[in-house]
Symmetry: C2
Subunit: 410 residues, 2 copies
């Protein structure tokens, strides 16, 4: 029988939709909340669990163990990181704590450490509640998952919206007296801040797995095979704590995202059932690294291979094309600029990735690039797609078609 230890509830949406505790209890499953799994004893097939209410330990036996320990925000080891007013933004509780701090302390000046997805999203929220906002990014540019030229568009949008952006600067320490007061940078300068968000990334919660001798993969995530099985046949893992197969890179990566976690969880459960029935397991199909966000008036989307992947993995013979178009016909109210970048194999012209930035209706267009890249569609095949045209929805030539056509000429 599988055994469940409560971890974080990843997705507040699901909490609302399913009331999982109720659902689990109704099914007669032994759910232990306020219990922390401490260590895995693989020889005995037991987990040492601490009851957080009374501090007592117990040994829980398992036939099959599932690790769904997730990931956690990286908190850098710098002076002042424990000052009041410094928050990560990963767990539901982080949001509650931050909200309560904003309500009670009414901070005026904020610094956001890290200009990735979380950083830019919170930058917008902080600005909207009336704070001065400075984003400090150690890399030469924010949103480094996107190409240089694309991330500069995001930076321009932040600046246009009154956000102060500092790139290529590292935070050396936080200063204050109980409450954070300023942020010290690596050039000796300081930025005043009575509220600091730490959003420099997440790391898989894989320590317990590592201590039990399970194999770890990229970024220290629990290494799983395509069936969500770890290096121990009796232990499966799913979600932000483990690796995922990248369909286009053909390698395991650590890309902790909601849909992947959700999908791996289902797959893991299904495969455990199949295994107990002696049936053939189903491989997890993998991801293509799709990620989207919205910051102020810009929607930002990426899928597949881009500059970052090309550099990181030394991929060769990839061409790209970038176009600027409109989301709607130029005479229709509400149109806005949209930039589309497509990546393709030089020779075959097979699409391997794309990036889109623009106004409303930009990000959803990435799903068609996802389909194209997953199915190995060529630029000329994308170009011939009979896409939607109606003035409130799209121009005659969808920006994706324009990009494909331009790419065909490259």
């Amino acid at each position: 029988m599988p055994f469940y230890v409560s971890g974080q509830i990843r997705d507040h949406e699901e909490l609302i939709a399913l009331h999982p505790e109720d659902a689990i209890h109704k099914r007669g499953i032994n759910l232990k909340t306020r219990h922390e799994a401490i260590s895995i004893n693989r020889e005995d097939r037991t987990v040492t669990v601490r009851n957080l209410e009374d501090g007592m330990f117990l040994e829980q036996e398992y036939g099959i163990l599932v690790l769904a320990t997730g990931a956690r925000a990286i908190m850098p080891d710098i002076p002042g990181i424990n000052l009041t007013g410094v928050f990560p933004m990963k767990e539901f509780q982080d949001g509650i704590d931050l909200k309560s701090f904003l309500d009670n302390q009414k901070p005026k000046k904020s610094v956001i450490m890290g200009g990735g997805y979380i950083g830019v999203e919170v930058a917008e929220s902080f600005k909207r509640v009336g704070m001065e906002v400075t984003v400090v990014e150690a890399m030469p540019r924010i949103m480094s998952i996107m190409d240089d030229d694309m991330s500069l568009l995001v930076e321009a949008e932040l600046r246009k919206s009154g956000i102060n952006v500092i790139t290529g600067r590292r935070v050396m320490g936080l200063e204050g007296d109980m409450l954070v007061r300023s942020v010290r940078l690596d050039d000796g300068s300081s930025v005043e801040a009575d509220c600091v968000l730490v959003s420099i990334g997440v790391t898989p919660s894989s320590e317990m797995a590592a201590k039990a001798g399970l194999e770890l993969g990229p970024r220290g995530a629990v290494q799983v095979d395509r069936y969500q099985r770890t290096s121990d046949p009796h232990i499966f893992a799913a979600g932000d704590c483990c690796t995922v197969f990248h369909r286009l890179l053909c390698r395991d990566v650590f890309i902790p995202l909601g849909l992947t976690a959700n999908r791996q969880g289902r797959m893991c459960g299904e495969n455990i059932i199949l295994e107990t029935q002696g049936k053939k397991l189903k491989p997890f199909p993998g991801v293509v690294g799709t990620a989207v966000t919205k910051v102020f008036d810009l929607e930002i989307a990426k899928t597949g291979i881009g500059q970052m992947e090309i550099e990181r993995y030394g991929i060769r013979h990839i061409g790209d094309v970038k176009i600027k178009a409109k989301t709607l016909p130029g005479y229709f109210p509400g149109f806005s600029d949209i930039w589309v970048k497509l990546f393709f194999e030089d020779d075959s012209r097979v699409i391997v990735g794309g990036q889109i930035i623009g106004g409303p209706g930009s990000a959803l267009r990435i799903n068609t690039v996802v389909a194209a890249a997953t199915k190995g569609m060529r630029l000329d095949e994308l170009y011939t797609l009979d896409t939607a045209y109606a003035p409130p929805i799209s121009p005659v030539w969808d920006p994706l078609l324009i990009a494909a056509r331009s790419g065909m000429k490259e």
Copy 2:
């Protein structure tokens, strides 16, 4: 040398974007505006043209002739069709005429004959300028391009928005004295109306082609091959006047739409050049019948095979699945209902069509179904797509994935 006779300018957008007359003149092309092509003399390879300014005729020689005569609104042969206040809505001029009538006459009650795309779009416009609006549709339901259940959603949206909808009733005549006053239906009842829109469909302007003995195809459209060539090797045709190849039905159809017309025009021009250079022509890839619109708060999209195509062409062994979901996570401001219907081959589970109705962000999702149907993607392949997830853009499980998953269980 190709020879150009000015026809309608199909797309106001292009007019704005390109100023085609200027562009054509600059290229040293002989453009004759205010000239009407009267007949084609295929033996002599000439076109008889009338100068609309002085009424004189001339014979214009051609090496290759392109027919781009478009389509026109069908005006039924019923009493009163020529009364003042009765308008089609096809040409740019129709819009100008209607606008001027609205401004000068300030009509209060309108009837719209035909509940297709144009009908429902204008119904919204008429309502927004403050008129009472009644849509009269001869078929049992409006938007008959959509499935029964889907078109009922559109009808409900119209009614919710204060539009009166009468289905299964034919307009027998228009009554009035110079100005239209009422519309008589086939059950003997009358609807008051001082403004009537006729939007019962369009018909290809193919009379000249027919008179010249060119082969006609479905709905009387000029029959072209995949290279845009008519049955006369010296005559090409493109746009709303001619047939188009349907990639999924594997037959020629008459589906006059903007992107297709635009695409065929380019293809036609390219092929004529290739032919004069003695090179191999390029086949037009065809369409899958994508069509979208927006009416009040609903976006409406269709592609590929649905109920209508199944019935009309006697297609067998097609399964379908319909789901209702949300456009965004249920906790995010601005989410709305979305209905997705997918059609697939019973056996192979290859996707052959889809229909989507819902709030903002619904219609653009059809492009992923277009890619899937064009590339012959199976339901389980669509289900595994790594689609975009971010609360302002989409729920964790995109409605398309939910539909695919439901279809897999059917």
